[in-house]
């Protein structure tokens, strides 16, 4: 269970809260936020002996890539179009598999009213679910 005030709790935890006393008052009655604090402290304590300067830099990610939901929508539209093509074909010959190589697809433009996803949505789980859906769709095409 998550709390909508978890971002404030995290900011408080790392000394960046605008109103620490408000967060502390919240923590009195919020077990999920206290659990978040406990989790972060456990990791911070475990990492305390680690030589931080030995932690090598991670690869710089591509910037301003906010196309997640639009890619998803684009893929669904593509899948729907492929279904239409298969449906219209008189001889249901096995079609060439959908190009599900997302990386090869051109990134759509970011909509100006794009809204950031909720804080703790599991992006990995969503992508996994998307892969499974596409795999199912692809399977359906081949069995038509």
């Amino acid at each position: 269970m998550t709390c909508p005030r978890e971002p404030e709790t995290l900011l408080w935890l790392y000394g960046e809260a605008d109103d620490p006393s408000a967060v502390e008052a919240h923590l009195v009655g919020c077990a999920p936020c206290r659990a978040v604090v406990a989790e972060h402290e456990t990791v911070a304590t475990a990492l305390a002996p680690m030589p931080v300067d030995a932690l090598t830099a991670v690869p710089t990610p591509a910037r301003a890539n906010r196309a997640g939901p639009l890619v998803f929508g684009g893929l669904l539209a593509l899948a729907a179009a492929a279904l239409l093509v298969v449906g219209l074909t008189p001889d249901p010959v096995v079609q060439a598999p959908l190009d599900t190589d997302v990386a090869a697809m051109p990134a759509p433009a970011v909509a100006p009213d794009f809204v950031d996803p909720p804080l703790f949505r599991d992006v990995d789980a969503e992508l996994e679910a998307l892969d499974l859906e596409l795999a199912d769709l692809s399977h359906d095409f081949h069995t038509l």
């Binding site: 790392y14 978040v36 475990a46």
Partner: protein, 181 residues
């Protein structure tokens, strides 16, 4: 007469502090060693200032330990900064938990580093970057968000996600309190 409820509240808070203090010090000692008592005093100072409205001792304990955890994180961060800024004096006594010249501590530190590098390497770069920056620099989450071109909430979410993944890996490697290899 009007002072009675206030005196009662203060007395109640002091009683709760007295009852919680030994466990709090033991908790802190496992994390910060010899500085546990000093940190405990800081916890109580903050608790006094906040005067939390806890319905019973259990809630009070949970709150006090949460404040303590925040101070532990701050303690570790300050120690890291001190290690980088102040060169180690070879004749000075070892601080608590410093793996510098303790061979077992060095092995544990290297194990932790390996696990962290593996976990960060397997993450999406933008997620790993937030954790890396927060751990190795003094950048605020706001500054990290600006650097990544994302919202503050997204940067916080990425850091939280990275922390959860690290927790699982460190638990599995037996490198956290209560974790089993």
């Amino acid at each position: 007469m009007a002072e009675e409820p206030l005196l009662h509240a203060v007395h109640s808070l002091d009683v709760r502090i007295q009852r919680t203090h030994p466990d709090l010090v033991a908790f802190l000692a496992r994390r910060v060693g010899t500085e546990a008592e000093e940190l405990a005093q800081e916890v109580w100072l903050r608790v006094h200032r906040a005067a939390p409205d806890c319905e019973d001792l259990d809630h009070f304990r949970a709150y006090a330990f949460t404040v303590a955890r925040r101070l532990v994180i701050d303690h570790h961060r300050r120690r890291r900064v001190r290690r980088v800024v102040v060169p180690l004096d070879p004749t000075a006594p070892e601080p608590a938990g410093d793996p510098g010249r303790d061979p077992h501590g060095k092995v544990a530190a290297d194990q932790i580093l390996v696990v962290v590098q593996q976990v960060l390497g397997a993450m999406k770069p933008e997620v790993a970057e937030v954790f890396h920056l927060r751990t190795t620099t003094d950048l605020s989450f706001k500054a990290i968000a600006a650097r990544q071109g994302c919202s503050l909430n997204t940067a916080l979410g990425r850091h939280h996600h990275a922390t959860r993944q690290l927790r699982k890996a460190l638990d599995a490697a037996g490198l956290t309190e209560g974790g089993h290899p």
